[in-house]
């Protein structure tokens, strides 16, 4: 391959247009190297952001062929091998665009602040005694500490793409989860309440955030941890929590999912009744058997013993 082509989605503040730039291939370079080359040799008007060039500041995240990456750490050759000589570059998805590849973090910062991503120290800490934690306690929040707020996890989040009025960017759940789990923080509810009110149970489990994060943070796992904490605190009056509890309950009851009772357990009788046309649709095709109650699996006593032992191991 002699030439590389960047096909870039541009925006001048008013209109959007596509522009192609071609430059000579050099081995062992990064996506950012290509952008800088264009800016320095072909088009100084091309706007993008990069600061540290060391995968630390999070500023350079862009979308290449539909996938968010950190431009400064992503090997160009790997992408060329995957997609061929032409790469399509766009600004991060699910962000407002300011210009070309530059996105607006301001509204995201406002949303992030709602989860109060700062330490609210426990009462026993003081200026003299400090705010210490053990290594084991730090280990619990180590992964989340690595978040550099690059926004990659939000770019292809399937839930966020269908509506952000009732859902946060994945990193917001990660930040909230970090402080809920932080042994030094004394106000778990302050972090938990806003995320529970806005979308904690609406994540669709698509795993895009886990896949995209360049720092191996796993927002979907943090969402699961926040859900566990909300259940632990008895905040179960919502369809998401009831659904999860129904699954866990079915596993200990019979080992298998009970499709017949799942809707009622999740939605309650009234809401389930509104789903009657859907249920009839399934009945007509023989997909729903209201009389099917799975018999306990062979070895169910063992399953119950394992679940009980797991519960006790944490107490």
């Amino acid at each position: 391959m002699e030439q590389v082509v960047y096909r870039i989605r541009r925006f001048d503040g008013e209109k959007e247009f596509w522009q192609e730039y071609s430059f000579a291939h050099e081995p062992n370079k990064t996506v950012l190297w290509g952008l800088l080359k264009i800016k320095e040799t072909a088009d100084p008007s091309l706007a993008f952001v990069a600061a540290c060039r060391s995968a630390v500041c999070g500023a350079c995240a862009v979308r290449v062929n539909g996938e968010a990456v950190l431009a400064c750490e992503t090997p160009l050759d790997a992408l060329l091998g995957r997609f061929g000589a032409t790469l399509v570059l766009e600004p991060l998805g699910n962000f407002p665009v300011i210009r070309d590849l530059v996105v607006d973090w301001e509204p995201k910062a406002v949303r992030l602040a709602e989860a109060k991503p700062w330490l609210m120290p426990r009462d026993e800490f003081s200026a003299e005694a400090g705010c210490r934690q053990t290594q084991a306690e730090f280990k619990k929040i180590n992964a989340q500490t690595n978040c550099i707020l690059c926004g990659s996890c939000a770019s292809e989040c399937n839930k966020l793409s269908t509506g952000d009025d009732d859902f946060y960017e994945p990193f917001v759940y990660t930040k909230a989860g970090k402080f809920v789990a932080d042994s030094r923080d004394g106000a778990a509810a302050e972090h938990l309440r806003p995320v529970l009110a806005r979308g904690l149970w609406k994540c669709v489990h698509c795993q895009e955030c886990v896949t995209k994060c360049p720092k191996r943070v796993a927002p979907a796992e943090d969402i699961a941890a926040l859900r566990r904490e909300s259940i632990r605190q008895g905040l179960t009056d919502n369809p998401g929590a009831r659904h999860a509890l129904a699954f866990a309950g079915d596993i200990t009851n019979s080992g298998r999912l009970n499709e017949t009772t799942m809707a009622v357990k999740t939605d309650g009788l009234l809401k389930s009744a509104t789903r009657l046309p859907f249920a009839l649709r399934l009945l007509r095709r023989g997909k729903l058997n209201p009389f099917h109650f799975p018999a306990p699996v062979e070895g169910i006593d063992g399953v119950r013993a394992i679940v009980k032992a797991a519960k006790e191991a944490k107490e």
Binding site: N65, G66, E67, R82, F83, N158, K159, T162, G163, W201, K202, C203, V204, H205, C206, Q207, E208, V210, T211, A224, A225, R227, R228, I231, P239, G240, H243, A244, L245, F247, A248, I251, G255, R256, L257, E259, T266, D267, R281, L282, R285, G286, K287, L288, N289, H292, P294, V297, D301, G302, V303, A305, I306, V307, K308, A309, A310, K311, A313, K314
Partner: protein
């Protein structure tokens, strides 16, 4: 080839036709499926929201059952595959001793000797597409099939490391091996929304509608998916999906095994196409296998 077969709750219930098709196809290909005795629900990507350790331990038990048979574990569901592989990764990554302490209460132990695979991977990698091609008795000539991967068979790649998650090719290769024409749809790797249908109905119906509309726009005769949950969502919720995004156009959604079965000469009835909400028999008719 022998596998410990993990049907999962969905093949046991609402998607019974997928189980029937999988079993028939395996038999026709001389693949022996030994149903895992005493298998339990994989947790369906929900159990960890209640108790993470219990979710891993219950799947460690499933894995230990496969080890007892001395066989790799095979599922026909993307979510089951992800849950089992995730548990395996956690166990092999350091949780093994702790979880074996829990399994001991049921007189069991996890060693880490059985792999977890999916029907699609087994056909492409273990069986081989050339060998499969040789078994095709009724090539699906002229049938345009959009391969829809969905989420859990691709992501996260650290756990699901079969192929490039950003550019998977296995479905297109399989469709071509069956004599059909693979067509690309824009949302092949997007989420169908199945797992959040209760708490996020509005969003989920939009996702479902968009995926089906993308396949219509691509000129596909049908979608084929390796995941029975995606199949159910795209098929059973198709009317709500259409309504959510204001589109028209039926799109039959086939389980992976059903498409293979048709190419192996089985009929639409044998493959359980009558159990689909969106009529799929014309797919069989087009393939000459009414």
């Amino acid at each position: 080839m022998r596998y410990a077969f993990f049907p999962g709750c969905v093949l046991d219930g609402a998607a019974a036709e997928a189980r029937e098709a999988t079993v028939r196809v395996a038999r026709a290909l001389d693949i022996e499926l030994v149903e895992l005795p005493g298998w339990t629900c994989c947790g369906a990507s929900h159990a960890q929201d209640v108790d993470e350790l219990a979710a891993v331990a219950v799947n460690a038990r499933n894995l230990a059952l496969a080890e007892k048979l001395g066989l790799p574990l095979l599922t026909a569901c993307s979510t089951c595959t992800l849950m089992l592989r995730k548990a395996k990764a956690a166990l092999d990554g350091g949780l093994k001793d702790k979880v074996n302490g829990l399994l001991a209460s049921a007189g069991m132990a996890y060693a880490g000797t059985s792999d977890v695979t999916h029907l699609l991977w087994a056909l492409v990698r273990d069986y081989g597409l050339e060998r499969l091609k040789a078994k095709v008795t009724r090539p699906l000539t002229g049938l345009k099939v959009a391969g829809y991967y969905g989420c859990h068979l691709l992501r996260p790649p650290q756990v699901m490391d079969f192929e490039d998650h950003a550019r998977p090719r296995s479905l297109a290769a399989l469709i071509a091996a069956l004599g059909a024409e693979p067509v690309e749809m824009a949302s092949a790797r997007k989420c169908c929304g199945f797992h959040a249908v209760f708490p996020a109905e509005r969003d989920v119906f939009k996702m479902t509608g968009t995926i089906n509309a993308d396949a219509v726009a691509a000129g596909a005769d049908c979608i084929v998916t390796p995941c029975p949950l995606c199949q159910m969502q795209l098929d059973m919720r198709q009317p709500e999906g259409r309504e959510a995004i204001g589109t028209a156009g039926d799109m039959p959604i086939l389980h992976l095994a059903q498409l293979v079965g048709l190419a192996l000469g089985m009929t639409g009835s044998e493959m359980g196409l009558g159990r689909h909400v969106t009529a799929a028999f014309h797919v069989a008719a087009k393939a000459g296998g009414r």
